[in-house]
């Protein structure tokens, strides 16, 4: 049975809806403040006690609601939404729930005495809202919030509810509904059920530093070294880029309702993955090429050489290590052996090379060109298997194949080298007693006493005719 809906009724109804919206927002936001709420009953209602419910108006929330509503009655097109989100101390953000309060215009109720009924039913709507806010997962979280862990934030907007940022498996609950002459008032909430938060703020952890290791600008092969920029400067620059991205994302989430959960820097890193891989390969190549190009001031901890590319214990190779006069040569040899045993350490080696590059930029650049020139030659022979690398100072040649000798010549060359490394002693000195057993003073006395004999021998030698 339809009845005439007067202008006064319409005006009253608009007012009710407006205050219902305001009180709803207050209830929602206050329920997420992390404190238990208790408001007393009052025998006489005052001006702000709409719907006979003692819902305190927080000025900030009221201001924000009014600002979003912009003095207009709730629109039939767009609902009023309250977004509740969680923000960690590190700045990560996650939307927990989106409350929406809207009107469906196609469903109208023109029954008599509508205004009073609507008012009473709006009271019930708010009571239901109060009850529902306490049983959703976000309520428990809000009670646990703290400055050093996470805080709960809210955002009010007038738009279609942004439920896509609630993650997978979100749930919707229709909190309350009410038929009115202007349409069906709908109060509903969509809330997140999966509370796993992925870290998005990584400017202080090692992951970001690691991504810097694969910065193409730092690849020595690219030859893009900027001498004016110290190696230390490169790290903060990468961080600053990431930071800016995050801040931008955060602002978007906070201000722009059209944007979902901020894209994480880890995703951005994944976007660089192919690039990272190329750079990595470059590094390996240049490293393996430059086995001997460890700079004078560089860290000698290079354990990442490709086994195929390690130069064997060729003749005179020790001269190189001796010339470097490195006290760490033994350690270096150990590291080289490790590299042969486990070639998978190449990734770590890239990092270490990076460190050495940072320490000595100049010495690295020069060998880089050298290595590039030699790489082809060395790669030509790198398939020749090496089975032994000496690990101590004594030269041991086992199954060695020198790059410039054939298989048969190899043994001759090795023997030749061994002969020259340790030349055979003269026969005359074979029977000499050890040095420790000789008394020098006594020997000198003997020499002095026998000096005349020596002189005569010498004179006879001088006076003898030259037979040759």
């Amino acid at each position: 049975m339809a009845m005439k809906f007067s202008n006064q009724d319409k005006k009253d109804l608009d007012k009710f809806i407006k205050f219902l919206a305001q009180k709803s927002v207050q209830l929602i936001v206050q329920s997420r403040l992390g404190e238990k709420v208790s408001t007393p009953c009052k025998p006489h209602s005052t001006g702000t006690d709409w719907f006979n419910l003692n819902i305190i108006d927080l000025p900030d929330v009221l201001f924000e609601t009014k600002r979003v509503l912009n003095g207009e009655v709730l629109s039939t097109c767009l609902p009023l939404c309250v977004e509740i989100s969680l923000r960690t101390a590190e700045g990560d953000q996650m939307v927990l729930e989106t409350w929406s309060f809207g009107i469906l215009p196609e469903r109208c109720d023109w029954s008599p005495r509508i205004v009073n009924t609507v008012y009473n039913r709006m009271t019930i709507m708010l009571k239901s809202l109060a009850s529902v806010t306490r049983v959703l997962p976000a309520y428990k979280l809000s009670r646990k919030q703290g400055e050093d862990t996470f805080v709960i934030c809210y955002r009010i907007y007038m738009d279609e509810p942004q439920i896509h940022c609630l993650g997978e498996g979100y749930k919707c609950v229709r909190v309350a509904q009410l038929y009115t002459p202007v349409g069906l008032l709908m109060l509903s909430v969509a809330y997140r059920t999966k509370m796993t938060i992925s870290p998005t703020h990584t400017d202080r952890d090692s992951i970001m530093l690691k991504s810097d290791h694969f910065n193409t600008n730092l690849s020595p092969k690219n030859g893009r070294y900027d001498d004016t920029r110290g190696p230390d400067n490169t790290v903060p620059s990468t961080l600053s880029v990431a930071k800016e991205g995050q801040l931008a994302c955060r602002n978007v989430t906070k201000l722009g309702p059209d944007n979902p959960v901020p894209s994480t820097p880890s995703l951005a890193k994944e976007g660089h993955l192919p690039c990272r891989y190329d750079t990595n390969e470059d590094k390996i190549t240049s490293l393996s090429d430059t086995m001997k190009k460890i700079g004078a001031f560089a860290d000698c901890k290079k354990k990442d050489f490709e086994s195929e590319l390690i130069i064997p214990n060729a003749p005179f190779s020790r001269l190189f290590t001796v010339s470097k006069a490195s006290p760490k040569s033994v350690e270096e040899n150990d590291l080289m052996e490790n590299a042969i045993n486990d070639c998978r350490t190449t990734v770590d080696s890239v990092e270490e090379t990076k460190e050495s590059e940072r320490l000595t930029e100049e010495p690295e650049i020069e060998p880089k060109t050298v290595s590039n020139g030699n790489s082809k030659q060395e790669r030509g022979s790198k398939l020749e298997a090496l089975t032994m690398v000496s690990t101590n100072d004594d030269f041991i040649m086992v199954d060695l194949r020198t790059p410039f000798g054939s298989v048969t010549e190899n043994s001759e060359l090795g023997r030749f080298y061994r002969e020259w490394q340790a030349a055979p002693p003269l026969q005359a000195f074979i029977d000499l007693p050890p040095l420790e057993e000789v008394d020098v003073s006594k020997q000198l006395e003997n020499f002095e006493t026998e000096a005349n004999e020596y002189n005569t021998v010498l004179q006879s030698l001088c006076q003898s005719p030259n037979n040759n």
Partner: protein
């Protein structure tokens, strides 16, 4: 007139019984209570403002909202604890039910007592379980919290249906619709009944009948 009836069945630990029932009944009563009515001389009336309070459960992971009325809470607690004591007592089978019944009175005629007509009944059937360790208790604490969450959501759904509630009365008829005995709130007339031997047991019927007779005589 047939009363609407809602039945909730829950399996809880003994110490959770009070809070489980209270969370449901308080949520219902929040929706079925108004501020106090104050009538003026012209016959019009003003309605007081209803406050609300968050209540954290001790043995269940749940917070519910109730009216800010100590007297209403006390009255409800008393009824619930009587039920709980019997339910947890040695004689009981660990099963029982408690109902929150809203009714209205019809004006009395001459010698007869006014007739009580229930219009909405909320029933909570409980089955008690015994848990052996804290791990199980923790699981049960969360599980019952989730179950009650569903019940509370259902209550709000029912409350927002366009279904019968008694009309706002005139001053003289206020006592036929509302319970005006509380100083700060004015719920619809309600009463709490309970039985502890299980809904199908004969003794519960007997006790219910006894209780019914007793209440009728009291009225």
């Amino acid at each position: 007139m047939n009363a609407r009836s809602q039945v909730f069945e829950l399996t809880v630990e003994g110490r959770q019984a009070d809070e489980a029932v209270a969370s449901i009944f308080h949520t219902v009563l929040l929706h079925r209570s108004l501020g106090k009515f104050f009538y003026n001389n012209e016959g019009s009336y003003s309605i007081g403002t209803l406050g609300y309070t968050d209540v954290d459960c001790d043995f269940i992971d749940l917070t519910y909202v109730c009216c800010s009325s100590a007297s209403l809470d006390e009255m409800l607690k008393k009824e619930i604890s009587c039920f709980s004591e019997q339910l947890r007592g040695n004689e009981g089978t660990g099963m029982g039910q408690i109902t929150l019944e809203f009714f209205q009175k019809k004006p009395s005629r001459w010698l007869f007592q006014p007739e009580c007509i229930p219009w909405e009944v909320w029933t909570v059937r409980l089955e008690l379980i015994t848990l052996n360790n804290e791990g199980q208790r923790q699981v049960c604490r969360e599980k019952v919290g989730e179950l009650l969450t569903d019940k509370i959501l259902y209550i709000t759904e029912v409350m927002n249906r366009h279904e019968y509630v008694p009309k706002m009365p005139s001053h003289s008829e206020l006592g036929l619709i509302f319970d005006s005995s509380f100083p700060d709130v004015q719920p619809y007339l309600f009463k709490v009944n309970y039985s502890v031997a299980g809904p199908a047991a004969g003794s519960s019927v007997g006790s219910s009948v006894k209780k019914l007779i007793r209440e009728t005589l009291l009225l």
